[in-house]
Amino acid sequence: MSSKTDTKIVKLGDAPKARPHHSGWRDWLGVVPFFLFVALFVALPSLTLLVRAFLDEENHLTLANLAGLLKSDILNAYWVTIKISLATALGGGLLGFLMAYAITVGKLPGGVRSSLLTFSGVASNFAGVPLAFAFIATLGRTGLVTILLKTLFNLDLYKAGFSLYSFWGLTLTYIFFQFPLMILVITPALDGLRKEWSEAAANLGASSATYWRKVALPILMPSILGSMILLFGNSFGAYATAYSLTGGFINLITIVIGSQIKGDILYNPGLGYALAVGMVIVMAVMMAIYYSLRRRSERWLRQ
């Protein structure tokens, strides 16, 4: 009974509903600067690319630019980008999830939790040029780990086919900022697992494994998938790290777009626009899935 009145009070305190306000045209003036800014610096650049993707150099309508996306080297660039994004989303997502599990359900001391969250905030923002330098010093030809493996285990990474400047090297580098991001986004979801659920499962005779398989994981699944999609998008659109690590010699979509902006190799402005539009479409689909998954996870877990 008392809880019922409480919610009622809260509802009444929620001013917009308590005192209905009819917004007049004057009220809309207050948001004009923001929408003007967005129209100029988000909508206009995006629409410019979208429109030009359908125009040829004489401004005639054409589908040739989009057809250019089907060329084998472009399809290959999309494929490599998707593979790297998948590998880093899965690898970084798994490591990040396990670490987040350790600091929440794993009941490690509170100091570990707070320092891990701080470090995640830093590391997820540590990308681009300096990250590339750090991995060159680690796994480059004369990197510390490369040398250590050679002297300690007689294992020559580069003779074994590894290269920091190719698929696996880039994947390992991206994971450096991917797993901290996973920790940041999945920790609130793990915090939302209620103690009562595991206790109830244990009372009904479920083992810890059964509880995870039948209760915890199904509840967490939308959050886990959603977070991994966020990670996927994060590496799908990444340019700075890849460019400074490989000097532009890797066939990623962002790198191809970059060289179209500079107009250096195989310059074909129309193709550049089509590439950018293709990229935005992939990202938009990813974000749409992310939001629908997030809405589903909010049913159980109040974040």
Binding site: K107, L117, V129, A137, G237, A240, S244, A276
Partner: protein, 269 residues
Amino acid sequence: MAETMKKRSFWSWLWIILGVLYFILPLYSTFDFSLRAKKGVLSLVSYTNVFKDPSFWKTIEFSLIIGIFTIIVSIILVAPTAYWIRLRLPQLRGMVEFISMLPFVVPAIVLVFGAIRAFSGAPFYLTNTFFGTYVLLVAMYVVLALPFVYRAIDTGLAAIDVRALTEAAQSLGASWSTILFKVIFPNLRVAIINSAFLTLATVIGEYTIASFLVGIKAFGPYMSLIGQNRTYESSSLAIISFLMTWGFMGLIQIFNRGKVDSSSLAGAR
């Protein structure tokens, strides 16, 4: 039961140690490498070389100034808008939240591509002058910062009763500017400071947008240039840049009383 607890904490520590190694090894390697500029001895030569380079200071200064303008513009743009929407136009909230998340859909490389094509010709000609280019750079960074600036400020506004404060101020005869600057903004202090440091951490070493708009005037492209020519200095730059990121995030921690959450997310760069 005690057995499973022990097992659980073993695995927990294992994952933590694995992750911490992933984090520490590259940093340690970089630091180690940065000390080896002189053959046979450990020295700080690569650091003094960096500090002696006037371009280092010039590019840091440039990126800091751009960062400060980005902070000013994004706060002036977002805070009054978020306040106004909570007060008068709640029906727009979903839409503005969606807009603030657009950098997740439009990555930095696409954004700068579109901006160059849209603003290099008629009717704006922004990229024809230095000033115009700087304006465009700041605008791009404001867009990049939009997700976390909007979220921080909106969360800050949710914690206060915007309507009651406004009506109280109005009934005491306060003007709109008094309400904004003396009543609302002081309540958003933590949110504004948070987003300011996050913006600095994002902008100062930013490469993608800076390299296409202003080239080696900015710190990110300068680091990249050093990386092509000078091996040891590039590692000391990586350490310096890491310490700066750590510093900005640490300041957020201090002002935020130790709370960290996912509101620091920004789109792909």
